[in-house]
């Protein structure tokens, strides 16, 4: 097969194909590509610009949200600080008022043990208190013993020591305790009369010479339903005024 026949053969094989010779197709393709590059470049620039615009909008949106968030955070912080400050001031004022009120009070509350009907009464707050027997042991029938006195509590071992108030709870019935004091009434050393506290507790009051302290007072009453009896006594007349208030304020918690 010669050159012509080869050429012809090729043409015969693909008579319509313009790109049979690659060398002849190259310039055509290049000129076509150049023409197409112009719109594609423009398109890409437009695309980039559009993307940038979208990005800018998104950034602005994000910044706006961040600013809103910061604003709200600051607002809440300021509000919180303000409310905390005013709450603290209000609390301090209330606490100071309570303190002043407490400081101006002249009485204090004494509360006995639960098993002894929680005997409760007011006493001058500047009095000293000594709980000698908490009820865990019984000495001579005394199961609970408390001493009250201004300035200090003198030695309890000293029989001459005087107290503004002695509170004793004895393991005896009220009748048995009354019987002991009634003997003194019979001897005209003491007088007796029924008394009632502000809370309605009834007891028996004895006034007269007792314990070597001159005119003294003793009040006897039942301790709830325990079968025990409470004896509240003041030695002498020195603290009689306070004693009257104390015995009037006695309350008990019944089972």
């Amino acid at each position: 097969m010669d050159q012509n026949s080869m050429q012809n053969g090729m043409n015969i094989t693909n008579p319509v194909m313009p790109s049979v010779n690659p060398m002849s197709t190259a310039p055509i393709a290049n000129s076509s590509s150049k023409d197409k590059d112009q719109p594609s470049s423009a398109l890409s620039v437009i695309g980039v610009i559009a993307a940038c615009v979208i990005a800018a909008v998104a950034v602005v949106f994000a910044v706006q949200k961040q600013m809103l968030l910061n604003g709200l955070t600051n607002e809440i912080a300021v509000r919180k600080e303000k409310e905390i400050s005013s709450a603290k001031a209000a609390q301090k004022e209330a606490d100071n008022e309570a303190f002043e009120r407490k400081a101006s009070e002249t009485l204090k509350t004494f509360t006995g043990p639960t098993e002894l009907a929680m005997i409760n009464f007011y006493y001058p707050k500047d009095w000293n208190v000594h709980i000698a027997n908490t009820g865990s042991s019984s000495s001579g029938g005394v199961v609970y013993q408390v001493y009250f006195n201004p300035e200090f509590i003198p030695p309890t071992s000293d029989k001459t020591s005087r107290y503004a108030l002695r509170l004793e709870v004895v393991n005896k019935s009220m009748d048995a305790v009354q019987a002991e004091f009634d003997k003194l009434v019979d001897k005209n050393q003491m007088t007796k009369q029924i008394m009632q506290t502000d809370s309605g507790i009834q007891g028996m009051r004895y006034d007269g010479e007792y314990g070597g302290f001159g005119m003294s007072s003793v009040v006897v009453f039942k301790v709830g339903t325990t079968g025990k009896t409470a004896i509240m006594r003041t030695d002498g007349n020195d603290n009689k005024g306070a004693y009257e208030k104390i015995i009037k304020s006695v309350t008990e918690t019944y089972d």
Binding site: M17, S32, S44, K92, D95, N96, H130, D158
Partner: protein, 300 residues
């Protein structure tokens, strides 16, 4: 670059590359695939028949759609596609812009959610903070007022006569029990609210004041085992005429389960010693205030 157009199906192993070496004139021309391609002569004679026959005759050959149509008039689509390209800066710009936009959108959504959460929980968090602040203030006021109550106008305790002269301040809300004062040693107990049973070993007193008729040197050995002795702080020994030899402080375990402080003070005619003891560390600050207020007079 381009495979052989027109459905030419080169024989296996045949060089199909247009950029390859030109076939030798003497070389055997590529044999058209009789299966894939109809007879070119026939096609030349009847092109329509060839067009119609191609897909039907060889369904295994993929039609070269988009490369050139059989008439040779259509543009080469694939070539067009390859020629459409974006400049590098455009691609980088696009990617960058999209990334920025994506991050910004995520941040915006996150901020938006945080905003809503913060707004919803604001009242509750403020309420909680206010409650905590009130409780904190109440605790602080309680401590402050307790201190004011104790030391605003303190009580004064005085010992005189045969015991020499000793005085100090103590909190107003403390109770005092004097156990012995007429014969032997002087003994007094101080405690907030009330003084419990002194025979109860578990009772802890804020202050035990004991005055013994012994010189300080003979009392010291009893307390040597406690923590280790040291000179008292200068602040304690603030009264006139005192010297460091007249004060000794001890701190540590005084008895079993009792950690406190003890101060020995030379008193009276130097044959008496005052022992101030605090049974628990919770009374330490009050104990130190008592010591600072302490006054004594030594009779010659």
């Amino acid at each position: 670059m381009n495979p052989m157009p027109g459905g030419m199906n080169p024989m296996p192993g045949q060089n199909n590359n247009n950029f390859g070496p030109a076939p030798s004139p003497n070389a055997v021309p590529p044999m058209p695939n009789p299966v894939a391609m109809p007879n070119p002569m026939a096609a030349q004679q009847n092109p329509m028949a060839m067009q119609g026959a191609m897909p039907a005759q060889n369904p295994t050959v993929r039609p070269n759609i988009g490369m050139v149509d059989m008439n040779g008039a259509a543009p080469i689509q694939k070539e067009k596609r390859q020629k459409v390209h974006f400049p590098l800066f455009s691609i980088v710009g696009l990617v960058f812009a999209c990334s920025v936009a994506g991050v910004a959108v995520v941040i915006a959504i996150s901020n938006s959610l945080n905003y809503k959460n913060l707004e919803a929980s604001a009242d509750f968090s403020i309420e909680q903070a206010v409650l905590a602040a009130k409780a904190e203030q109440q605790d602080a006021d309680e401590k402050e007022n307790l201190e004011k109550e104790k030391w605003g106008t303190p009580n004064s305790w005085k010992v005189s006569g045969q015991w020499g002269s000793l005085s100090f301040d103590y909190p107003k809300i403390w109770s005092v029990l004097v156990v012995k004062e007429k014969e032997g040693d002087y003994l007094a107990y101080f405690r907030p609210d009330y003084v419990g049973s002194v025979s109860d070993k578990t009772e802890r007193f804020a202050l035990r004041l004991t005055i013994v008729s012994k010189d300080i040197e003979s009392v010291q050995p009893t307390y040597e085992k406690v923590g280790g002795r040291k000179r008292c702080n200068e602040d304690y020994a603030s009264f006139a005429g005192s010297s460091s030899e007249e004060w000794w402080c001890y701190s540590g375990t005084l008895e079993k389960n009792m950690v406190g402080q003890v101060v020995l003070i030379k008193l009276g005619d130097s044959q008496k010693t005052a022992i101030l003891q605090s049974d628990a560390t919770i009374y330490k600050s009050d104990f130190e205030k008592i010591l600072k207020s302490l006054k004594r007079t030594i009779s010659d």
